[in-house]
Symmetry: C2
Subunit: 625 residues, 2 copies
């Protein structure tokens, strides 16, 4: 790869994947309280023989999958939130926005400097003195914002169009409503039990909500490192990740050029963007942790808040007294931010400047409505270190900081582990609920074993599905490259789809009323041999169709009443149809039939079967259809 060429070229529209998802139609639902809302969905139309309404799916992919939309990476996405923010008149233009400085890009220059995004048309906003600005402040004031109505419509997946699914699940004390109203959203945000990460400087955002009483969300990490990564690649990964279902994206870049890379990502992102400001602050001091200071960090917060980053990971829970608690761990401190702050605390023998200046951090984040993601800098990095003293000491501190942030009107979520064996996962959720006042939990996996490098998307999907069921609101994906390298495009897709299925398994187990509709539609398609519907209702239609076609490529097979697993007629589902027809005809299908009823009924069923005389022929030749 030629680093220089790549970095010196501006990302172009041709660098990203544009166009409709296979098997689905983009559609929008208008707002009621706010008529200018257009909430996106992906609608899957079923085969006419199904005689069922289309299935509506959640769609975080933004305008990129809308055939009507015009995409221009150089200009960025349209600022749909602009009018909503203007109407609130709660923000003012920053008279002198912070100007970009060489150190913002790590001193990269010339051919090594990534091109800047042209945002000359953009006005940088901040809270107008004395006004409400955060979603939490509005919620507390009893005001339903456009963002709140938007997510309410979004969470319902238009299921008023479909038959209600039975409420069936164990929600461990959550309060998931049958139908999400804007008022319910407002109340959950007011309680601090949900957040809408939405910086007023990110008008391109399609709002989404994170909270245990809503659909479980997933985050995809992107970002270059000192070793790898180019601007266009990162923008492409952001678009690609949302295409497959990422609800938020974190830019974890640590190389140079990260200011410019971030501009390209935020301006083109339909989902909330999260960052770890400490990474850039460390670059500004030449990578010397000891040289970090509150002033440099503060400057970085303002720089990124003005760019429009929607949530910041802040490792303010890594306190000086906790550092020695990690000394006997098998894998020490595995969080980058955590290890940097631990080193700073030790080097200066001082309490963390993040902890000491937390109130001022709150005031800065409030001014732009940047949401806190309180980082778990002391999370375990191995099964051996799970749930230890250092981890839980930090968690209690995060609970203390949550209350401070709430007092300042800031939205808050809490980051969680990491590496945790199955029997210790529930304790993580319980402790978080106990200490953090139900602020949304946002976990990385957790991985349930350490022995499968190359398969950690799976070792962690097990833990992610479980902790999502227990109440975690957002799951940070893990890709197959975890512990081995930076994810490429394929790894990003695999990670996103793996986490989408884990999040959905959690929604099902919690008894979310929208979840079962999707599974049941798929199951009916299976039972009725509607192969195209099975592909289209799946999380990855192309892959499913490809697998099917490896053995039965003919178009005719797409309507065949069999598959290559059991062959043309040796098919349990086909037999089941006969059984169902016969049994239903008897109207004696409930449990607890009297022996006499069964006798009588089955005698007739038997007779009908002998008349039908259906043959199950085990043919050997490739299926002739």
């Amino acid at each position: 790869m030629n680093t220089q060429t790549n970095r010196s070229r501006a990302p172009a529209t041709g660098d990203v994947t544009i166009g409709p998802r296979v098997g689905g139609r983009k559609m929008y639902q208008q707002g009621t309280l706010h008529p200018d809302l257009r909430v996106p969905f992906r609608q899957v139309d079923l085969h006419p023989t199904a005689n069922e309404p289309p299935v509506t799916l959640y769609d975080p992919s933004g305008p990129y999958t809308d055939p009507q939309a015009t995409i221009d990476i150089a200009r960025g996405l349209p600022g749909i939130r602009g009018p909503w923010i203007d109407r609130r008149a709660d923000a003012e233009a920053v008279p002198y926005p912070r100007a970009v400085r060489p150190e913002d890009n790590g001193g990269a220059a010339g051919a090594l400097l990534a091109p800047a995004f042209d945002d000359s048309r953009r006005t940088v906003l901040r809270r107008r003195p004395g006004r409400l600005v955060t979603q939490l402040e509005y919620a507390r004031a009893g005001i339903v914002t456009a963002e709140m109505e938007y997510v309410a419509i979004r969470e319902n997946l238009r299921r008023e169009q479909m038959d209600a699914a039975p409420r069936d699940g164990e929600d461990f004390g959550a309060s998931i409503p049958d139908h999400v109203t804007p008022e319910f959203v407002r109340d959950e945000i007011a309680r601090g039990r949900a957040v809408i990460p939405a910086n007023i400087n990110h008008p391109e955002l399609e709002p989404m909500i994170i909270g245990r009483n809503f659909l479980v969300k997933i985050n995809a990490n992107i970002g270059n490192s000192a070793v790898l990564g180019h601007v266009a690649d990162e923008v492409d990964k952001m678009v690609w990740a949302t295409r497959w279902g990422a609800d938020t994206v974190m830019d974890l870049s640590t190389g140079r050029n990260i200011h410019n890379i971030r501009d390209w990502i935020v301006r083109n992102s339909p989902v909330p963007i999260g960052t770890v400001p400490l990474y850039q602050a460390l670059e500004k001091v030449g990578g010397v942790a000891e040289d970090l200071s509150w002033e440099v960090f503060r400057d970085t917060l303002i720089e990124q808040a003005e760019q429009g980053v929607d949530y910041f990971t802040i490792h303010a829970g890594v306190r000086l007294p906790f550092v020695p608690l990690t000394a006997r761990r098998v894998t020490g401190i595995v969080s980058r931010g955590g290890s940097i702050m631990a080193r700073w605390c030790l080097a200066h023998h001082r309490e963390s400047f993040l902890y000491e200046n937390f109130p001022e951090i709150c005031e800065i984040m409030r001014a732009y409505d940047v949401t806190f993601s309180l980082g778990d800098g002391l999370r375990p990095g191995s099964i051996a270190d799970a749930n230890d003293a250092a981890q839980f000491a930090e968690l209690r501190t995060l609970g203390e900081l949550t209350r401070v942030a709430w007092d300042h009107g800031c939205q808050v979520m809490i980051e969680g582990p990491g590496h945790v064996p199955m029997h210790k996962i529930k304790a993580n959720m319980d402790e978080q609920l106990r200490h953090c006042g139900e602020a949304p939990f946002y976990t990385l996996g957790p991985l349930t074993t350490d022995i499968a490098p190359g398969y950690d998307h799976i070792t962690s999907a097990i833990g992610a599905a479980m902790i999502g069921w227990f109440g975690t609101a957002m799951l940070c994906y893990v890709t197959p490259k975890e512990h081995l390298g930076l994810p490429d495009r394929n790894d990003v897709k695999t990670g996103v789809i793996t986490y989408k299925l884990a999040a959905h398994a959690a929604d099902l187990a919690k008894g979310h009323p929208a979840a079962r509709l999707h599974d049941d539609a798929m199951s009916r398609a299976r039972f009725e041999f509607r192969w195209e519907d099975q592909f289209n209702l799946g999380l990855d239609p192309e892959t499913a169709r490809g697998f099917h076609d490896e053995t039965l490529p003919k178009e005719a097979h797409k309507t065949a009443h069999f598959c290559s697993m059991c062959g043309p007629k040796f098919c349990s589902m086909k037999i089941s149809h006969d059984i169902r027809d016969a049994a239903l005809a008897q109207n004696r299908v409930e449990e607890g039939l009297s022996p006499a009823e069964i006798e009588a009924g089955l005698a007739e069923m038997g007779a009908r079967f002998r008349d039908q005389g259906g043959v199950i022929d085990v043919a050997m030749d490739p299926a002739p259809v």
Copy 2:
């Protein structure tokens, strides 16, 4: 593909993968009670800097991974169990073994007939009248067989060589010992709580044990269908599956030639082989379910028992009265065997011939020590049908049949679902324990959602890890092709490794003392940047190394103290080493330090850090090492 050519060619040694596993050495441990036992293990030697003993791993791959072994597919594996069985003098040669008939291969002839395995040298055995023969009978008589000592040694993974790991887990009432003794094995088998599937006509077998108080095992399904499959491919899949860790293999072939295919597989298999005799019986009657009879089924049991099949799936729990309970299901009956029996029951309006002749089935299986795998023919095929009346009615019947089989001296395990959302998984384990007297549970997944065709190895690994933790003894793998097609070689590997990690996650959560040793060795290798050790300790060293080398290919990087994720020096683990050194130097690393102690201690630590003045430099250029 040319079906005829493939079928008419005998499998050759060149068709299977032979040679040592990367990163491990084959080694054997001798028996004590039975000195002629040679129990195989895979030993992973660590880098000298680790200063740790080698890690011993479970190895079901048989002689194929032993560089000393000579493999000849045409002759089959050596009959290591022959002398043990001779010593017991409990079996006699069958005077007139059942001769192969055309219908055994579905009437295949000429170029379409798969070549027969030459077993002219083989003596077919059965129980000598009046003698004990099953492992259960010996266990009850207080006799420790060679098979029992073999599995006892195997389960301990030579961990007496290593430091004991802390007992840490939730086992839900299991009784996992610190160290497995032959007497413990005997007692578990006598209670019916564990089985050693080991037909006396399968001397090539390396014995393994299945029970909730032992390591969780996994099964891989192979087998051709009416549409696909060739003899050599199936033998290769069996060897390939065990190479990656399959503990047992089920041959689910449904096409013609299945007698001959089975011969090749059994004679060359180091692991127990399971089958569903009903499939072949159906072929013998031309695929017409209604034409099935007890006589045809009985003949098939004897045919396969004499071949050496180690366990039979018997769907005797699908009773006539239960069939109507499936009529309103979303996906009906999804078990092939279950649907065939349901159809037979309805067509004849009669109770199942499997249920009515169960005592005689027991006597046949006892005569060869074929283990029962009581099939769940009414398992749910969708989230909607999980835990319904039909499923649990059948489960109660399987409990009733378990007691009958035990009375006849037969070993028994119970098959379980299927498709189950997370919140309904535990009930499956609880009901099975309640009704089946702790006979080992053997489940297919379960899949925790239906919406991810192409990724069902993952949707099911979530459920498999959980139900394994709850007490399931063996997990039947699901491959990415589930619901879409027959697995190829890559799918088999992916399925096996996915289930190995799920089974291990379950062992960890149960607190199996052998499990943590593996994870901790991996974690220490991570913390010490021993990249080769990380690859070799993983379930798939080649894939892990390949992922790492995509970004850092140089040999030098294998010893580098960083990876491409965070770059050369921006590495939390590296910082952690400094922190650990500093903190440990203080000997004040326990929780609950007094503020004064912390003050004093950290002052010195801070000083040391400033002296070190280590720089964390975020370099941009590809890592120079």
